[in-house]
């Protein structure tokens, strides 16, 4: 239990997925103009990464890394299989939500197609395999990583809403000032590194 908690804190804050591992930068820069859409995107990422870590964990345990099938030598297919599974999963989740939980679909629907090309999802699936996590640990790790993303993107959106009307030097308008903000946030997140 304690080990799980350490992994969770580690991937949510200490090794924040955006600010220290640079995964999922595109949505972090693109969908952080206001807090509401940022929270929607973050929510969708939490949802998809948690399910994706579970499914890819199952596939790895029982098919690709299973010593009884081809002596466990199918591992080289990890990348291809995981990305296809994630793409299919996102489509499936979208259809499922539309049919079964319309309110949730209303909230997360538009963000779902974006997530297939979000490298954080594939990144988590591959890290789980590389670090040899079992399925439960993998799901906890995935959930925590995604929560880290949610925290980072909502904070970013909050800051951007405030700096929108600031007097920024001409050349730094647009992307550069967002990047500087992200850099300062990354320094702030160094403060967590003493936690574990």
């Amino acid at each position: 239990m304690q080990e799980l908690l350490l992994i969770a804190v580690g991937s949510a804050f200490v090794n924040n997925v955006v600010l220290s591992q640079f995964l999922g930068i595109c949505p972090f820069l693109g969908v952080s103009k206001n807090v509401k859409t940022a929270a929607g995107m973050g929510g969708a990422v939490v949802f998809v990464i948690t399910i994706a870590s579970f499914v890819t964990g199952l596939i790895y345990r029982f098919i690709l890394g299973n010593p009884n099938i081809m002596g466990g030598e199918l591992e080289y297919l990890n990348t291809i299989v995981f990305i296809l599974v994630i793409a299919a999963l996102v489509q499936f989740v979208e259809m499922f939500l539309k049919k079964v939980m319309p309110p949730l679909y209303q909230a997360l629907g538009v963000y779902l197609p974006l997530i297939t090309t979000n490298c954080a999802v594939l990144g988590v699936a591959l890290t789980n395999v590389q670090d040899g996590y079992d399925i439960l640990t993998g799901v906890v790790n995935g959930f925590a990583t995604a929560v880290g993303f949610l925290v980072a993107i909502v904070l970013m959106a909050g800051i951007r809403e405030k700096t929108e009307h600031n007097d920024v030097p001409e050349s730094f308008k647009g992307t550069p000032i967002v990047l500087v903000t992200a850099g300062l946030m990354a320094i702030a997140f160094f403060g967590f590194s003493g936690l574990i």
């Binding site: 693109g30 490298c119 050349s171």
Partner: protein
């Protein structure tokens, strides 16, 4: 032949993926802790880009439109796996330092973006050169960021000491925040050049990038970010 040279110029300068299109930001920020890592990542991506552009261009009349995305992803993922093995076998030191970011070339938006917007509509030869141009543009971008970070953060270029011994390296530049700061300064520099050119009345193509919205983005079809903007616009109009 002219068209091929035009494609290379386009990738290196006019639509440079790092500085102009602002694509593939994850590897751009993550692996540029040193110049050599930047070159390694850039060339690996170039190899995947050229091969996938070639194959997708060959198959462009066979792949049905409705399943083109999964088909592209399979093609790209296969080449990435090949490159992954080649690096592991022949350049293990680079393989170790790039780590997780090699398999993540699959989700690099440059590759799917070029497949969608160029290779799936054009003949084989220009597509290959488009891949070379874009790949080299990406390599140049990564390498220049890598050089700046390595120089400030470690006082070295390509592992050779260039700064005098009295120079105290600012280690933060090879840590995560440095990546954001260096990229911000490079983009700002480029904005300055653009603004100056525009003031002189010269035609300049607008810089794009996720933070500037989706209207001018080349990989709109792949990414889908514009869907969100349209949706939020609709909501605003409704409210």
């Amino acid at each position: 032949m002219n068209k091929c040279i035009e494609r290379i110029y386009n990738g290196l300068v006019k639509e440079n993926p790092t500085f102009v299109l602002m694509l593939g930001m994850c590897p751009t920020l993550a692996v540029t802790t040193s110049a050599i890592n930047g070159i390694g990542m850039g060339l690996s991506t170039t190899a995947v880009l050229v091969m996938s552009n070639m194959l997708i261009s060959m198959l462009r009349k066979i792949i049905p439109d409705s399943v083109r995305m999964p088909a592209f992803i399979v093609v790209v993922a296969s080449f990435v796996t090949v490159v992954d093995f080649l690096l592991e076998g022949f350049v293990p030191s680079l393989y170790d330092s790039l780590g997780l970011y090699i398999p993540l070339i699959v989700v690099n938006c440059i590759i799917l973006g070029r497949a969608e917007s160029y290779a799936s509509k054009n003949p084989v030869l220009p597509s290959i050169f488009d891949g070379i141009g874009m790949g080299l543009g990406f390599t140049v971008g990564l390498t220049s960021i890598g050089i700046v970070r390595e120089l400030i953060g470690a006082g070295q270029i390509f592992g050779m000491q260039v700064m005098p011994d009295s120079y105290e390296p600012l280690t933060i530049f090879i840590l995560a925040p440095g990546a954001f700061f260096v990229l911000a300064c490079l983009v700002a520099l480029q904005n300055k050049v653009r603004n100056n050119l525009a003031k002189k009345g010269k035609q300049v193509s607008a810089a794009s990038g996720c933070a500037d919205g989706c209207a001018s983005c080349a990989s709109k079809g792949v990414c889908g970010g514009h869907l969100i903007q349209e949706e939020s616009k609709k909501k605003e109009e409704g409210a």
